[in-house]
Amino acid sequence: MFGNYIKIALRNLRKYKLYSIINITGLMTGLSACLLIGLYITHELSYDQFHTHKDRIVRVTMEYGRSGNINTVATTGTKVGPQLKRTFPAVETYVRTFIRSRVVKKEEKIFEENRFLYADDPFFTMFSFPLVEGDPATALDAPDKIVISQSMARKYFGQEPAINKTLTIGTADYTISGISKDVPQNSQLKFDFVTQFLNLGKDVAEENWWTANWITYLQVKDAVAIPQLEKQVEDFMNTPGVRTEARLEGSDFLRYKLEPLTRVHLYSPLAGFEPNGNIKYIYIFGVIAFLIVLIACANYTNLATAQSVGRSGEIGIRKVMGASRKQLFFQFIGESAAITTIAAILAFGLSIWLLPYFNTISGKSFTAEDLLQPKPVLIISVLAIIVSFLAGAYPAMVLSGNAVIGVMKKGFNFTGTNTKLRKSLIVLQFGISVFLIIYTLIILQQMNFMQHKKLGYDKDHVLVLPVDNKMSSNYLAIKAAIAAVPGVEGITAAYETPEFVEWGDGIRATDEKGVHDVSLNAMPVDLDFTKTLGMAMIAGRDFQENDFPLMDTSNAYANFRQPFIINETLAKKIGWTPEQAIGKTIEKNFPGPVVGVVKDFHFESLHQPVKPLVMFLDRDLARTFMVRLSGTNISAVIARVGAVWKERVPHRPFEYHFLDEDYNKLYIAEQRSSALFTISGSLAILLACLGLFGLATFTTVQRKKEIGIRRILGADISSIAMLISKNFLVLVGISILIAIPFAWYAGNEWLNAFAYRISINAGLFIGAAAAVLLIAFLTVCFQAVKAAITNPVKSLRTE
């Protein structure tokens, strides 16, 4: 019996090649999208789930208010871990962490390593990063011990055993005390090297509430007690002793939140060592996968019902032969199952083929192996069964339910409610497509807007190079040497690059109106910062050479004056016009004059409005060079800078990047989702058109006789094309009207996350609508024109 169904199904597939191809392609694409998106979602959801103690580990985040400004950061001071452990028995242990890049050396092999982790000793017992060699309990118990990953062991030692060998970092030698397995992709902490936290040196030698640069993890005794502990910590921070110690005055506060480790990646608004995922996008992607499968299912249902006219004879005969309704129902389900199975198998092939592209979009690195696990195979099988029923049930029900006599006699036709269903499905498909297209266009417009937004500085052609402690002795010489390279227009240095300033600080300004305390971002910069980055001064001047003598360190800084440049927003906040601000004194650790006011520039992502900022002259804090290139023949200029670098900075490989790359990294989540939306939008419209094409083909075949007669009566080709496409276009039009408000609403929601955003204009809707109508029209027309140009005699004769 079942064999008979399969046989029939396969023969029908062969007989109706076009429909089969449309159905299989559609379902294959839909399932493939599901598979890839599912892989992505599973991976995101699996973040940090592999730790044995995952439920008992929390990340400590800091919320602080100073002079009325409230800030929340993922980083904490050095004191938090040790103090909480001492005070609360519920805290078993703490690990403070920091990741930076270090130059690692083994004989002639020198590399700059970006994933160099500093962590407190219990690191390997708290987190489940298995060691292939070495003992987790003792791997970090001495300052000169270092644990490296397996791939690093291979990189530096090849086939030789790496354990107990020596690596040089900076000037110090470290002994390899453990080899860890490479960190899985789904870990918020990703490292290649781990050494003791205290090796960070004087910055972390003392316990401090402030200077919050470190990410602290706690392991608690009992997961259930976490909310209670959080409350206790809050009370503790409010005790007078602690407040004094933390220099909190008035309404100032310092609070700590405990985020469960496994919620950090998807639920926390605060990024840690890498950009977080977002549970919202997980939902959105899930819905998109569902919608695409839905479109493919609708295609199947539509084509199957349409096709069934030709099969009415078969159904009638089978009924007369004694087939029960149930048997016929399962025959048709069997057919959709056959199609879905083929599509599912092909979907795996397609997904594997698409994997590299998908990895580029998603920023993950999946392999074919990840796809061919029992779980995805099982899920797709279940999905295939669901789809078989979803897509096949309706045609099966209708076809098997009809009375024999009607079927046998007239051949039979879907009329009334059935065409209504088919029409509704078309509207649904195009509605989804139009929605996705408009939504995508809105995202793309905003992305484009951000790319080309005047940021207040010029991010193009700026080379970014590192500055480290070892270079500080001949800092000026290196700087001068790079500046002298032909093609270099200017050079400056700062603590951070301007696209994302993290340094939080506070100032006090005193004028005739009183005292103003402002908490703000601060930037230590070298000379020529505003000039090199193309910022505009609206009052005053840039820092200059003779500002240095102001910073008099003699007599224990008694006469130390710190010159400042402030931004427009800060001036406004204090209540000064830019001109008034010049010469005023503000205080940040040390008092000093405001020498210039810089036009506001965006030093955070465009999600945030521009906040107050102060720049102060301090080249000792410089960590990065920013080199402006002329913009012509860039590679040659880079090569020349590289040559200078090799000569002047022998201890460090020449590794550079461009400022606009840093800028683009701010929007990586948006870029990923816009890529995904673009693809799914295109897929949706493609699938919908595929279905439309099938239906149009079908209608044309059905109306062949009518078309023939009309032709003989004198209708021209365009009127025939119109006749066929009119009905379809009306449906597409309806779906556009339905989709627009939804897309408008969703797009606005998305845009609301940006402080600087485009406004949605009607042109976008009109453009999208016109494009979709045109695509639909062309799809349908192809068939209609083909039918119209057939010799009418031919089509009438076959009747």
């Binding site: 019996m1 008979n4 046989k7 029939i8 023969r11 029908n12 007989k15 004879g313 078969e314 009638g316 005969i317 089978r318 009924k319 007369v320 032969m321 004694g322 087939a323 029960s324 048997q327 024999v404 006599i405 046998m408």
Partner: protein
């Protein structure tokens, strides 16, 4: 075997009843070979369909093997005709996607006959109809006569007590037609199968042992 009493069937268009069958009373005994004749539109096929339970009458009683058909549900009816009735059509109505073998096998599939038994039965009937060599061909590869032969083989596969044939030779040339009619006669005489056929041709009607004439949905008195 079959007893129709006051069977009427009509369609209503624009409030007007057009009778397809009007007050049909007919008794058919087991072993009969009945021919139904009449001009186009006289209701022959409708009557056959009612007898075959493919169609309902609007009025009247129909007893088949002592069972009141007009009171049965569709499922029970389908159970009945599955078991007792074989159909032969003018246009053969073979399933295009299935081979000769598979077409003949289909009714058995719906009766849940076991695979081995199916094979034996199909092989037997192929042999009897001399179409073993054609068993793997598709209907489109056969002549009309051969297709009708397959159609009859299919109708006979489940050993029905009754065969309903709607102009079985209508699409055939006279030689093929004769062969088919001979086959019917043989089935009737040797195997005792009851046959009801609809036909236009006096000659074919002559193969049977009783003829009724329909005109405008009524049975004319036997001549």
């Amino acid at each position: 075997m079959i007893k129709l009493e006051h069977i009427s069937k009509w369609v209503t268009t624009a409030g007007l009843r057009t009778f397809l069958l009007k007050d049909i009373n007919l008794t058919i005994n087991e072993g009969e070979f009945l021919s139904i004749m009449g001009p186009s539109g006289s209701g022959k096929s409708t009557l056959l369909n009612v007898i075959g339970m493919l169609d309902d009458a609007n009025e009247g009683e129909y007893n088949f093997l002592g069972q009141p058909i007009h009171t049965l549900k569709e499922k029970q009816r389908s159970q009945l005709y599955k078991q007792y009735i074989g159909f032969v059509f003018q246009a053969y109505h073979l399933i295009d996607e299935l081979t000769v073998y598979e077409n003949i096998e289909t009714p058995l599939l719906y009766q849940d006959t076991k695979s081995a038994e199916r094979k034996a039965m199909v092989a037997d009937i192929l042999d009897r109809f001399n179409i073993v060599g054609k068993k793997d061909l598709f209907p489109s590869q056969l002549s009309g006569g051969q297709q009708q032969l397959v159609g009859i083989a299919r109708a006979l596969i489940s050993s029905p007590k009754l065969i309903l044939a709607d102009e079985p030779t209508g699409n055939l040339n006279s030689k093929q037609g004769e062969e088919i009619m001979d086959l019917f006669r043989k089935l009737n005489e040797e195997d005792g199968v009851t046959i009801i056929q609809v036909t236009h041709s006096e000659k074919n009607a002559g193969y049977g042992n009783r003829i009724i004439h329909l005109l405008d949905g009524r049975i004319e008195q036997p001549r």
